[in-house]
């Protein structure tokens, strides 16, 4: 086979065609990026932004991830273009960061907005304390779907404290002992035994958090004893447990 060009001329020709092809590819890509479709018509304009979830309730101190969806003039929906800005109408109630992650600061209402230039979308947000979501059923026990001896809403309260696994376990031990105390203290002897277990739970969490432990045990107590039947059950337990001598629990206090 005979080559019509010399070797260096062939290489030069290859480079020429490579540059041509590369230029065409870059042109096509940049055309898409400039809002033109395959036919070369202008891209659809951003018409609106929707924010979801629409009306969430955030517990105080908890976070809620918001997302934004853009709707274009051709009816298509997709992620908003770059430059999306998140804001809160009342940062004393809820704050939101640049990724749409909001945090409940205090009880109240706020509007979370996402905007690009003059186009924006909003979501009405209500921040509540954990008080608003406590179980208030008429029975003393309340729901305990995971059968760990602690009411499910109290499990959530404890999980929300952000303690270590060991501290959470200790506080759950305390909460379970409190639940037993209000459910099953029919006489003074049983009340005494239940008080001893309750104190063991306290000592378990006290051994880990020292003076800070009361901050958590007080809340668990108040949130557990949040209806009249539960308060009355605890008052009865306390009465039956009183007038007695309780040596400080020692040894292994955590289960």
């Amino acid at each position: 086979m005979v080559f019509p060009f010399r070797r260096d001329e062939a290489q030069l020709l290859h480079r020429f065609w490579f540059v041509i092809v590369l230029s065409l590819v870059m042109f096509a890509v940049s055309s898409c990026g400039n809002g033109s479709d395959k036919t070369g018509t202008p891209a659809a304009a951003l018409r609106s932004i929707s924010v979801s979830p629409e009306s969430p309730t955030i517990l105080m101190g908890k976070q809620q991830q918001f997302s934004a969806t853009a709707t274009y003039s051709d009816g298509s929906t997709k992620s908003p273009p770059a430059g999306l800005i998140w804001t809160s109408s009342n940062t004393a109630v809820a704050t939101v960061d640049g990724s749409g992650l909001a945090k409940g600061v205090a009880p109240g209402n706020a509007t979370i907005s996402a905007a690009v230039d003059s186009v924006n979308g909003t979501s009405s947000t209500k921040v509540e304390t954990v008080l608003a979501t406590l179980d208030r059923s008429t029975d003393v026990a309340g729901p305990d779907k995971d059968n760990n001896g602690v009411r499910d809403d109290i499990d959530q309260v404890i999980a929300g404290f952000g303690l270590t696994a060991s501290q959470t376990k200790g506080l759950t031990q305390f909460a379970a002992a409190l639940q037993v105390a209000i459910l099953n203290s029919p006489d003074r002897n049983t009340a005494y035994s239940n008080a001893v277990e309750l104190h063991r739970g306290q000592e378990c969490i006290f051994s880990q958090l020292r003076a800070d432990s009361t901050k958590y045990t007080k809340q668990v107590k108040a949130f557990t004893l949040n209806t009249q039947p539960r308060v009355m059950a605890f008052v009865g337990f306390s009465r039956d447990a009183s007038g007695a001598v309780y040596p400080q629990p020692t040894g292994t206090v955590c289960h």
Binding site: M60, Q202, A222, T227, Q228, V231
Partner: protein, 295 residues
């Protein structure tokens, strides 16, 4: 003289004997026992918190001897029941709005308001409920303490406490009892009962926020805050109460931080106030001079 010499010899030689190591093991040997008698409107959880606060002061050893702790849980049901009744009346008058029984614990636990603050922030109309509860509590305090001795729960509880103190005496334990609020009424009565049996100063007392006219232990002492609203209310009713002797925290009119200025853990054992150093100094002076019980 012979007995003193023997005691001196034992105290000098004791560290050289195998018994010395046993004496340094918490729970082994007689050592010390520190007891706590709770005040009014205290449930078993709050009472144990008080004992924990005391255990944080002395730990498990003192003078190379073990220290153990015991709670004398005094009955407080009457006052609690009155506040519960007051709350129930408010709920009945505006059901739904006020049916948040968790709010009652701020008042019963001493008037501080961390949970009340949350609820009021959510619904400002709950503010009146919280104020009413606190007023009910203060109004009832003096009535309950005044009639404490006549309460049919008083004597059985006192018998339990004095039995325990007698047991510590037979176990050769040096005993310090710290009482708070109405617990001081029990402590005075227990001291009067047990003290005649003792041959040495093996029992000492520390009175905190006492609603009594005197403290029986002549070596004992008391600490009462100048801003304790409960003791001030009691003084108005009872007339003859040991006067306040230690500067308390400045109270922002029943604020959530300080409540009634009366709580044992939140106020008196709070390291931010001058009350704790006063209690510690009093307790130290008593513990240092405690003597072993003589058989």
């Amino acid at each position: 003289m012979l007995r003193q010499l023997a005691a001196l010899t034992v105290s000098v030689l004791l560290p050289l004997t195998p018994l010395a190591s046993a004496a340094q093991t918490p729970g082994a040997g007689p050592g010390y026992v520190i007891c706590y008698i709770n005040g009014l409107s205290t449930d078993p959880i709050g009472a144990q918190d008080g004992l924990d606060a005391l255990s944080a002061l002395y730990g498990t050893q003192y003078n190379n001897e073990p220290v153990s702790y015991t709670l004398f849980y005094a009955p407080t049901d009457g006052l609690t029941q009155d506040v519960v009744n007051a709350f129930a009346q408010r709920v009945a008058s505006s059901p739904g709005l006020t049916d948040r029984w968790e709010l009652i614990w701020d008042t019963l636990d001493g008037g501080g308001g961390s949970i009340s603050d949350l609820a009021i922030a959510e619904n400002a109309s709950l503010n009146g409920l919280v104020s009413d509860l606190r007023t009910t509590f203060l109004n009832d305090v003096s009535i309950k303490v005044k009639s404490l001795n006549a309460n049919n729960e008083f004597q059985p509880a006192l018998d339990q406490f004095t039995s325990a103190l007698t047991m510590y005496y037979t176990q050769q334990k040096k005993t310090l009892v710290v009482a708070h609020s109405q617990g001081n009424v029990y402590l005075n009565a227990a001291y009067d009962t047990v003290k005649p049996q003792l041959k040495t100063d093996s029992l000492r007392t520390v009175h905190v926020a006492t609603p009594t006219a005197t403290v029986r232990d002549p070596q004992g002492g008391y600490v009462t805050s100048t801003t304790d609203l409960v003791i001030q209310a009691l003084a108005l009713t009872l007339g003859n109460v040991e006067p306040a002797n230690t500067e308390g925290p400045i109270l922002a009119a029943l604020s959530s931080d300080s409540g009634f200025g009366h709580g044992f853990v939140d106020i008196y054992m709070n390291p931010n106030y001058k009350l704790l150093p006063a209690i510690k100094a009093l307790a130290d002076s008593n513990v240092q001079t405690l003597q072993s019980p003589s058989p």
